[in-house]
Symmetry: C2
Subunit: 132 residues, 2 copies
DNA sequence: ATAATAATGATAATCGTTACTATTATAATA
DNA sequence: TATTATAATAGTAACGATTATCATTATTAT
């Protein structure tokens, strides 16, 4: 079997994803990490992100437009996508807990999980428009 | 400005999508339509699907795995994805109506819409396993 | 230190989708 | 009905995101 070996690049990918709140794509993460590792390969970023998803250390999702985003938070939560600034906000876990049974009840089969995305304009962007 | 012209291919794409319940991808639809139009181009399928989305006659969505699916039903509804057979089931509109206000309340901003996907195993696939 | 092998950077290949172009189909007009 | 204008097509090339390949480098065990 295959044992995992430490790599500075993988560690950097993890900490970088942990410190960001915007749920970056592989390419966005790649651009960030290049500041620390100027010649890291885009393939390395993809390979490690997929590995971390397999290990359950991170999760990936698409938010309607088809682009794949990565998230360091693995506990169940929802997302709110701002159509103006594109930022993807986390939503409180309590919402998931409250809606879980209610939502899963009328479905024709066995439910393992569900995901919810909200689309709109975040408070920051709404405020900016008010002041103009 | 540009006026729309009739095309048998576009009509076929519409009726084909209308008669299917599995929310096909562009490629799956392409394979279906080739039975009627053996030399229709994949580009034609993509072009018309995108046009129909623009016109609001159909909608498109991704269900987590990144693949883009098309749906002839444009009224708000949820989807249930079976991890075994891959079929994407429609869920009753009443669910949306019931959960709408409840879900949108605690979000930090203005909500335009939301989407919900359920993942699990549909009744058919559960039954099949029971009989083995 | 040496050996074994996992991980890397660089690049080629793949896949889904879009753009391009000469030709065909549709619709308006004479 | 014939003519003209142009939207739509089939076929193919191009594109962007992702994955695979491979020689070299880094990590770990002996």
């Amino acid at each position: 079997m295959k044992t995992l070996k430490y790599s500075r690049q993988r560690e950097s990918i993890k900490t970088c994803l942990m410190n960001r709140t915007d749920h970056p794509t592989a390419d966005a993460l790649y651009l960030s990490i290049r500041e620390e590792f100027p010649n890291i390969s885009l393939g390395t970023v993809y390979r490690n992100l997929n590995l971390l998803v397999e290990l359950g250390e991170i999760i990936s999702f698409t938010c309607g437009d088809g682009s794949v985003h990565f998230d360091y938070t693995t506990t169940p939560h929802y997302h709110f996508v701002c159509k103006t600034c594109g930022h993807i906000h986390d939503l409180p876990v309590s919402m998931v807990r409250e809606t879980n049974e209610f939502l899963t009840e009328p479905v024709p089969g066995r439910i393992d999980s569900h995901s919810v995305f909200f689309y709109g304009e975040c408070a920051d962007c709404v405020d900016k428009k008010m002041t103009h």
